[in-house]
Symmetry: C2
Subunit: 206 residues, 2 copies
């Protein structure tokens, strides 16, 4: 699938296309033009055509893209046709909020385990998940073939959690802690950091 290197910016737009395409399919819409997509998603139609052209020629001139086919292709590219188990460390407000997203993560991606180091958090119920102690992390992750780890602990604990994730064999980490974590090069880390989001938004204020 990864015959060419796709830029991160493109990879980040694909889930956004996917969400709207899923909305269209629910309304039984069969085809969509790059103009429609651009208008709805506030993106340049030429940009959208370029993004989708990375993955082969899906659009037909004057007709547009076949919604079902495009959904299938994007799901394949993003590997959402695979089962992907996710584990989360840090059962505070943010961790609880993210665990509640399981409802949105239809497809085959799911948070299957939540961990915390605080005794008062362990045993708490978040929807159908019970917060487990850190001592069970490696075993649980390996038993559940967890591939993505989410960090929602304070900055001071994030590196230790990252080390535990690496030890247990996760392949990618989504880090919400406001700190840079060090991991081996083969582990992909994305940062989802509220402070940097707000600071980059400030740039666009007049």
């Amino acid at each position: 699938m990864k015959t060419m290197k796709i830029s991160e910016a493109v990879v980040r737009r694909l889930p956004i296309y996917l969400r709207y395409l899923n909305e269209l399919r629910m309304k039984d819409v069969q085809t969509v033009s790059s103009q429609d997509l651009g208008h709805k998603l506030d993106l340049n139609p030429a940009q959208i055509r370029k993004d989708l052209a990375y993955f082969g020629e899906f659009g037909k001139k004057g007709i547009g893209y076949d919604v079902g086919y495009l959904i299938e292709k994007i799901r394949q590219i993003l590997k959402l046709d695979q089962y992907i188990n996710v584990a989360l460390v840090g059962a505070g407000n943010l961790g609880r909020a993210l665990s509640n997203y399981n409802a949105y993560l239809k497809d085959n991606m799911k948070i299957v385990a939540v961990f915390d180091s605080m005794p008062d958090k362990i045993g708490q119920q978040i929807n159908n998940l019970t917060v487990k102690p850190m001592s069970e992390l490696v075993e649980t992750i390996q038993a559940n073939k967890v591939r993505i780890g989410i960090i929602t602990v304070p900055a001071s604990e994030a590196q230790k959690v990252a080390d535990d994730f690496v030890k247990s064999g996760v392949e990618a980490i989504l880090n919400f802690a406001p700190i840079i974590i060090r991991v081996p090069a083969e582990i992909r880390v994305h940062y989802a950091d509220f402070t940097t989001e707000l600071q980059s938004l400030a740039y666009y204020l007049d």
Copy 2:
């Protein structure tokens, strides 16, 4: 300040540079090379030099960048030398988690008001903020000169909140609801969506 158009990718990296530079300053480090920055931040040093060159020539060959000067410049570019008040709608787990980030948002950016439409949320205390009813949103935002609005309500309510923000005069919106919102072209919207974060991370799994 905005004499040239800077790409969103660059704007998103600036807060990441800033965080590390602040760490360096706390350790009394005076200069830093693009190699050091690149190693610490997992970015290509050439990319970093290119990013920083957008804003003028700050680096000295063989010496590197002056940490204090670079912090000052990036803060100016991101407008963090201004006071920026922020309001948040949706006092659920995510809203509470974000309100707790006020501690990290040193500088002059601060969440000054939290709103919710649910009677059981109104009046609750989140740190030093009291959750207010939606009926007070426009007045509070105008009185506090709020410039950025954060949406942490369910998808079904997000557009209505966005409309209220626009009516009250905010200039930019950070939307955590998993839905595309429609606002006038002059309002900048950033999406911080957990689902798309996870889906784009899945692409990098082998």
